[in-house]
Symmetry: C2
Subunit: 243 residues, 2 copies
């Protein structure tokens, strides 16, 4: 089932806060993308690259296991991870094990442990709380309890050629894309876009980063699975579609 | 400034969750009301009275102190408190000291300590996270960052006669009321209402409790301060109004 989630809290150890506009899109087939731009970059480093983190993965890069009616575990192995791309020191390597618990409010509490200093060193506990939004609205409208979002539009495009790898996921009216240039490891090689459909095939960009933002697809009507889409010389393939 | 806040988290000690539809209304002059009905009552006791808690107070029942640009302390002495009314055992007595920190996301993190076993016994730490909503919308629409809500409608009515005490606060399109019968201490004496204005002077009730719900005011247009309003024999006074 498609999902469009807004993060409310990022807690590491005892310290809880939220400094980002983080939205995670999950497609009907389970592909996923999460873009985490900073709301108020506070120093030169943050202003230069105002992003806490971003990642994307295919449904083959995640293993979901039902624990009970309210709980699943999700084990991630991101396809694209900008921290790994940037070779940020002291980051978790490999699979991340998380537990997702659905509260009565239908917010999702994600907990897990990462091992930034290596798998045999001390771990760091984290918690993130996610608010399901109504993806068919152009604002942050909280999904009413019991809302059926199984019919929401879900379109996924992928690029993976000699130079670039990227994923773009459209859930309802919201599109998010992440694309990196192969063989580099600087912020110059990272491209991101978040946009929302204000009328048919007309999108308003809410956040973008990188010099190749114009290479992301920008129209998603009637795209069927298997279609190739050329965007200013970049060839994307539709790998999932509700059309 | 008026505020209309939805609770996202209630954390006691290490245990975080959200089992309620809790909204807190704060009027322009600083009167306040918080109704906390349960989303999914889980046993007979909860089904009989499906409310976690509710309270209301005048601006004379709260002391707000600015600590820095992002932080205030709020010391509450509730006028009406249903736990106190019901003589629930082991509840905090007297003033509650809380600290409110505004995150970059503009959610408000409230922390404090209550002393259910007495002021000289061990305290219990709690945290609640609050999401500002756009009170002019009939759904849960997250207030965009930087939104100016200083012009939102703010109307407050009060009853305090020989038999009843109650407060009703309207912020934007949302009305919440709490009224208790004097000299009783059972759930029979408690009345609550939450409604939202779907068109001028037409309100949809989202939650109500008690046998005197029809004694709450139900129209708020052009009510000026000082006006007396008779509602099925109950006389309410407008103690604040933006009209």
């Amino acid at each position: 089932m498609p999902a469009f989630l807004k993060r409310l809290i990022f807690q590491v150890g005892d310290q809880a806060s939220e400094r980002t506009y983080t939205y995670t899109s999950v497609s009907n087939d389970g592909h996923y993308i999460s873009l985490r731009p900073l709301i108020r970059p506070k120093d030169d480093k943050e202003r230069e690259f105002p992003v806490e983190w971003a990642f994307a993965g295919l449904n083959t890069d995640i293993r979901v296991t039902k624990i009970d009616e309210y709980t699943v575990t999700q084990d991630f192995n991101f396809w694209i991870d900008i921290n790994r791309y940037l070779k940020v020191p002291n980051i978790h390597q490999g699979e991340v094990h998380t537990t997702w618990k659905r509260w009565e409010s239908e917010c999702l509490e994600e907990t897990g442990t990462v091992y930034p200093f290596g798998p045999d060193k001390e771990g760091v506990n984290f918690m993130e709380l996610w608010q399901p939004l109504d993806s068919n609205r152009v604002e942050d409208v909280v999904a009413p309890i019991g809302m059926d979002n199984s019919k929401d539009r879900s379109v996924v495009l992928k690029i993976d050629d000699s130079k670039y790898e990227g994923l773009m996921i459209v859930v309802g009216k919201w599109a998010q894309g992440l694309m990196t240039k192969k063989g580099e490891s600087s912020t110059d090689g990272i491209n991101m876009i978040r946009s929302v459909e204000t009328s048919t095939n007309s999108y308003k960009t809410l956040f973008s980063q990188g010099s190749n933002v114009d290479k992301f697809p920008s129209a998603f009507e009637n795209l069927s699975k298997g279609t190739k889409v050329d965007v200013n010389g970049f060839e994307w393939e539709v790998i999932e579609s509700t059309y």
